[in-house]
Symmetry: C2
Subunit: 113 residues, 2 copies
């Protein structure tokens, strides 16, 4: 991530990245290339393209998104992903787990160190 890529960042992204993408999709539909670009702009500079596409395939197979092929003026057709009801449930679940973790860590940060 940024200049500091490190083993840690990669491991910590696991599961979180899915929540991030679902959150992005909750604002409006998007396609892979666009999502990758947006995330890189927002600080995930070293995010691999393949990682995003693989993630999108996973959430599609789990039925969290609806997919539509849309022609592009600039290249091959785009696969536009739209968050559906199942996806919104999953997203709620994500935020619940995320809140749990932040609470635990905030507390640890106070006690320890």
């Amino acid at each position: 991530m940024g200049a500091t890529v490190g083993r840690q960042s990669t491991e910590m992204l696991k599961g979180v990245l899915e929540g991030i993408v679902l959150t992005l999709l909750s604002t409006r539909p998007a396609y892979g290339y666009e999502i990758t670009a947006r995330l890189r702009d927002q600080g995930f500079t070293d995010l691999a393209e393949g990682t995003v596409y693989a993630l999108l395939i996973r959430i599609e197979q789990r039925g969290l998104v609806d997919v539509e092929k849309v022609p592009s003026e600039k290249g091959p057709p785009r696969k536009v992903f739209t968050l559906n009801a199942r996806g919104r449930e999953d997203l709620t679940e994500f935020w619940r787990t995320w809140s749990f973790l932040t609470e635990r860590l905030d507390q640890l940060r106070e006690d320890g160190a």
Copy 2:
């Protein structure tokens, strides 16, 4: 985690659990069984014993902790882990990555949804 174990929680723990354990060790030395018990008390009710021991072996092999065998009155000898200088560096790095993630997610939470 808690009643809802789920795939998500498991994936989100990756990398984070190491930071949690290092933070615990930054307050005082501890041994595996104790760490597992403390984490379970603090809400990680479904945390597997094997997970913690495997993690401890990893951070020992990376040289983040010093290890000492201490006899126990209640069972086999304990392996007491103490955070060393390298471990404290790693912990700092962890908090840096964690802060980055929380900032990104806080912002997403505002914009999206």
